[in-house]
Amino acid sequence: MKYIYYPGCSLKSTGRVYEESLLSVMDVLNIDYKELDDWNCCGATAYMAVDDRKAYVLAARNLALAEEQMKNEPEVNIIAPCAACFMVLLKTQKFLEENPEDKAAVVAALKESGLNYTGRAKVRHPLDVLVNDYGEAEIIKRITKPLKGIRVASYYGCQTVRPYSVFDDQRNPETMDRLMKAAGAEVVDWSMKTRCCGASLTGTVQDVALPLSYVIVHEAKKRRADAVATACPLCQFNLECYQTDMNSKFKSDLKIDVLYFTQLLGIALGIEPKKLGMNRLFTEPENLYKILEGGNRVYV
C-alpha cells in the first residue's frame, strides 16, 4: 500500500525530530510514502477559535489534495503524525459528513480552486499504520537492537485518541505500548497515558501549563520509567524542554528522557542516532545508551 505523508507545520520546525525519525523508520521498514505536495497548515486548534468554516476549508484542502495526488490508488491513506493535525483532519471529515450544508459550501469553495473533495481519504496515525497495517510480527522480525531493560512510559496525549478513538481505546490506549513491547522495551503501566500536558497553553499561560506537564513527568519518574515515549510534537517539546523550568518551580530535580516513539523504535531497528534526530534533543538520551550497553543508569 502507498501512503501519503502529511507533515504539518510542527514537523518542519520544533517537531523536526519526529519527522526525521518517522521517515527513517518507514524507510527501514520499506513503507511506501510520498509527501503531500503543496500541503498547507491544518488550522490546528487556533483556527477553530477564529472562524470555523474557514478552518474546515483549510483542512479539507489537504484532504482534497491527497485525493487528487492519489487518484490512481484504490484507497487514499494519509499519515498525519502530529496529533493536532491528525485530529483536525479527522474532525473536518466527520464534521462535513454530519453537516451536509457545510460540506456543500466547502466542496463548492474547493471546486472553485480546482479541487475535488469527496471525503474518501482515510486519515491515519503512524501508530495505527505501524501496528494495524504493518503489524507487530513484521516489526519484531526487523528488530536488531531490542530495547532490553529499558522501561518506557507510553504517552499518547490528548488528540490522538480524543475526541475520536478511531484505532485505539479512548481511555486506555495500547498501540504504542504494543510497539514498544515489540521493540523489546518494558512498558510502564500508568494512568497518565492520555492526560493533557498543557501544551497549547505553554506558549500563552505558562503558569497553568507547567504543573500539567510536571505531574506527567513526575508520575513517569515515580513509576521508574527511563523514557517517556510521545506521539505528538507539542507533547514532546513540552515534556522535554521545560524540565528545567519545572524543577525550578517545583523545587525538584527530575530528569527523564522524552522521545518520540519513532526514535525508540528506530534505535531498536538499528538506525543510527543521528538519523533519528537524537542530536537535536536538548541532551542525548544517555541513560538509554548506557542501559543498552548493559551499564548503569546515569540519572535516576
Partner: protein
Amino acid sequence: MERSIYAESFALDVTAKDRLDTRRKIKYESELDKTFSNRIAESAHGEQLFGCIQCGTCSAACPVSHYMDYTPRKIIQMVREGFKEEVLKSSTVWLCASCYACTVECPKGIKITDVMYALKREAISGNYYPKNAPASILANNFFKQVLNNGRNSEGPLLMKMYLKTNPFMLLKNMMLGIKLFTRGRISMKTEKIRDKKALKKLLNSVESKKKILSAGKPADVKEAAV
C-alpha cells in the same frame, strides 16, 4: 520518593482579600442575553448543551478547571441562561487546552470543547477577549499567518505574540529559543505554500456560516442595593 515532589503550588490559593468585596452579585433578567444560548448552540453544532444535568463531570475531567474563574459546568449553565458578559470575559474560554477530556466524559454527549470554540469565536468577533490575553492574540496571529502564507511558522509567530503581550516573556524564553535554534528545531524563516494567493482567495470565499452578532449593551439597569 522525596517529599519535595508535592509542590506547594497545588494547594488552593485562599489568600485573604485586603478589603471586603462588596460588588453586587445579583442578576436581573433584563441583563441577560436570551438569544445567547441558541447562538452558541448553533455555532457549536451543539444542541445537546440544553440537555446538561450539571453533574460536573466536565469540570472534574478538565486538567485546568482549577485555574478557571468558572468551571466548564458553570459555563454551560451560564450560556444556557444568557450570562453573556460573564462568559465571554471569563478566563475559562482561554484556558481550555482543547484536550477533549470533557467531551469524551460527558454523560449527555455535550461537545463541550466545541462550545468553548464557539465561545472563543464569539469573544474574538465581539471584541470581548482581554487585549493582552496571549491565547486570543496567538489565535488571531496564527489565523492571519496561515491566511497569508498557508503555513504556520512557529518562530515568528511566538515572537510576535510575546512582543504584543508581554515582552518580558520573550526575554524569559530567549534561552529556550536559542537552544532550539542551535538544534535546528526552530527558525525565523516564514514557511509558505506555492500559491499563497489562491489559498487566500479560497479561504475568503467561504463566509463564516453565522455572522455572530455582538448583541448590544444590556438595557439600563438600576444598580441594586447590596
